[in-house]
Symmetry: C2
Amino acid sequence: MPKGQLKGICFHPSKETKCVTCSLSSLCLPISLNFEDIDQLDKIIKRRQPLKKGEHLFHQGDRFDCVYAVRSGSIKNYAMTNDGEEQITNFHLPSELVGLDGIDCETYPVSAKALETTAVCEIPFARLEELAKELPELRSQVLRIMSRELRDDKQMMMLLSKKNAEQRVATFLTNLSTRFKRRGYSPFTFRLPMSRNEIGNYLGLAVETVSRVFTRFQNSDLIAVNGKEVHILNMDDLSILAGLPDQEQKIPNETKIANEG
Amino acid sequence: MPKGQLKGICFHPSKETKCVTCSLSSLCLPISLNFEDIDQLDKIIKRRQPLKKGEHLFHQGDRFDCVYAVRSGSIKNYAMTNDGEEQITNFHLPSELVGLDGIDCETYPVSAKALETTAVCEIPFARLEELAKELPELRSQVLRIMSRELRDDKQMMMLLSKKNAEQRVATFLTNLSTRFKRRGYSPFTFRLPMSRNEIGNYLGLAVETVSRVFTRFQNSDLIAVNGKEVHILNMDDLSILAGLPDQEQKIPNETKIANEG
DNA sequence: AAAGTTTTTTGATGCATATCAGGTTTATCA
DNA sequence: TGATAAACCTGATATGCATCAAAAAACTTT
């Protein structure tokens, strides 16, 4: 089916979902807002025509004025390194907020590009701040979302500085799986919206290495892959390889006091 | 001089700096607050006894209730990897806020430990939120600080996934230099508050590699090192090696439209 | 000041992953 | 539908950095 038609068939701006009825509301900004407040939030949100694959939401250096919530599809964030190479810093799935790192310098520090046909909610930041003035719950939700992203970033740093290729790919897959699950999709069967190249770029690995690890994982019956379709066959072992997913790792308490001084 | 005495000699809780008179106020939370507002902020801040080297501000997993501003000294954040290894995720210099990544799950996701005798301002988060209700400037300052940390984290990811050992160390040194400069210290001569081991851990390198790169940098007259004392002799070349510091990198605009679709 | 401990440095070796090169499959488009 | 390009996989080789080892220097402690 040609992508172009999707717009006409599936997307009716007049009938577009409101926050109240949106299936993602429990993951997105509206969490813990009451109906009235959600309605207020709804009023400042613009639903734009979906982006086609490869289209940009914004470019690195553009003036920051909106944050975006992914409604369907997926977005990658990337920056250009000094030698002109692309460096992917994030992938965003539905319900996730894009662009929060632009608040400080008032320009987006990275570009955002659709990996597939992608619908977003556009949230003018100035109006969000206005609204936050009156809605304490919205305020803390924004903080929580940013705080979570900070935490995820640290996890990513740990991946990049301590994990080997297999652990990186395993972490990547289990992480995606968890996120799909929370969004109501199967945690065991999903379609990767990004290429091997993009996975490698994100994970700090060469494409070839990603490809090889995928093959090795297949040979050990951890996963079954067909192009971008992934089946996780042995989640337990994959999670162990990943080094326990994001869930709380227990901290060895023994040395807590001993270590002081 | 024994560390213990510092407390008695240098730190008088009764005479402690207020935000209004604090030399760091232009870098820290009070930015863009007026005098009255700073005073309000001041009231919720507790200045604790300075931490001695090696003491913890909080441990990974502790209940999140405060964020901290470093007043003097320095703090490292670190987490334990699954195999019990330490992974340093950040170093904090005076005026920087510690603990913001705990907002979301209400426990600190990493530990915070003093690298040297360190004074902090303790800011109860609940009260900060209270205050933010009335002070829009404070609100956006918190957002800006978190947004900046997000941006820095992405920079760190790029370092970890694309830069080689020399580029990492060069980036580390120029970054420190910039931060010292903003705080009124010399950007060319400073004392590293952390060990080679900690630098390596943070940069995803072995100690030995850090040591070797330091030696190489000395041999090429980029820096002069004596233990933890560092002199930057050739900032230009060091910056080039680092791959241009954090400042805005120009984005090649040619392909902006061409890339779409 | 001496003894012990930790940190730093330097050298030799090994390995995980990058890079290069080729072939194959899958997508894109006329 | 076939042509062309892009993505993916696999093998061979190269290399940057980790690891191992051991000495030197810098701190601690008594």
